[in-house]
Symmetry: C2
Subunit: 214 residues, 2 copies
């Protein structure tokens, strides 16, 4: 009995991409059904969690067989909003901005990168793949005319909040933050962190804790 995603808890949403990746993989192997126990095993969860999570979605399992993989994939795609292409701009044409712009997985998964911007005017006009690096002044127009929903912040920490503000002013609805700093966003703009240094620090801490125990 799905009530749509509006009430879906964040921890559940965070797991949906993992389910999707696994389901796609199983589909490629030719499998047709998957049980909550099998998904749990593959993703280090309990079958209880899997069933609870999927109950937030518009999908029904079948006793004795589990969930139909095609069905499950389609439902996950819809729930995640991947059924229509999302347009993305990248701000920052450093190593990461470049890697992101060239990352063919994004396009394959429904994210269309339609602009790369950098405040360093020396980079303006240079190409990254088929994209041309543009000046920050062109950002608002590009976001508006292309109806860009997502902005990726790939700039040094000192510039991150300013870049985020500009992206929000231009009208993006969500921000992926790769900068070292926390970004303060308007309540109607979603922010997801992909701060790699912070993740390495978390890893460092996790390693330290484990060695303390055993």
């Amino acid at each position: 009995m799905s009530v749509g995603l509006n009430s879906t808890p964040v921890p559940v949403i965070r797991r949906l991409p993992r389910y999707l990746a696994r389901v796609e993989h199983l589909l490629e192997t030719g499998q047709e059904w998957v049980s909550s126990a099998e998904l749990a095993e593959a993703l280090d969860l309990t079958s209880s969690t899997v069933r609870q999570d999927l109950s937030h979605l518009d999908v029904r399992g079948v006793s004795k067989r589990g969930y139909g993989l095609v069905d499950l994939r389609n439902t996950l795609v819809t729930a995640l909003g991947l059924d229509s292409k999302s347009k993305v701009v990248i701000v920052g044409a450093g190593n990461f901005g470049r890697a992101l712009a060239l990352h063919e997985n994004f396009a394959r998964r429904g994210f269309e990168i339609c602009g790369v911007f950098d405040s360093n005017s020396k980079l303006n006009g240079k190409k990254i793949g088929s994209l041309v690096i543009e000046d920050m002044d062109r950002l608002p127009e590009a976001v508006r005319t292309d109806k860009v929903e997502i902005g990726i912040v790939a700039v040094p920490a000192a510039a991150a909040q300013d870049v985020a503000d500009r992206l929000m002013d231009a009208g993006v609805r969500g921000i992926l933050n790769l900068a070292y700093t926390h970004i303060n966003a308007r309540h109607d703009v979603a922010v997801v962190d992909a701060r790699l240094v912070a993740l390495l620090q978390e890893l460092s801490c996790a390693i330290k804790m484990r060695s303390g125990i055993r």
Copy 2:
């Protein structure tokens, strides 16, 4: 009354890097003290959460003044295990592997990248900055002789689990996973996900939910 980090909950550990980044920033501005309320405001938390979090650390605040910034930074650095350099290898010399290897922030924050490996033998010997891309066969030796603790998986999804297994066999204690797939790890190896496509999908879902509400 700190009991060390062994019992620190994961959500707290995840916030430590954010505290550290903020504290470093405040130190740069010449500030000497920070209150839990000020930290909360900057990081979108409540002051209660901040005080609870910091109570897991070996630091004491001072009534009416807050926490000494130098003290707090040092404590966070120790807690996160950043007081000694961590050695890192990168597997996968694609766009991301390259960007990571060239990312000067890692070195600045105490992560020393001491090897880049790729199974594509055509890349062997090529340089990324001052590093030379090596064959996967050399991985075990490199991890052992350099005492590498962290492996970064920056390869296509199909190869990710195999690469992770090899890293674990070689002896790394933690893995940063940038691949699209979930990685199953031994219980004594920590895994932190930095799966950018998954994060974009999560963002897409968050955006979708918000537009449903308002």
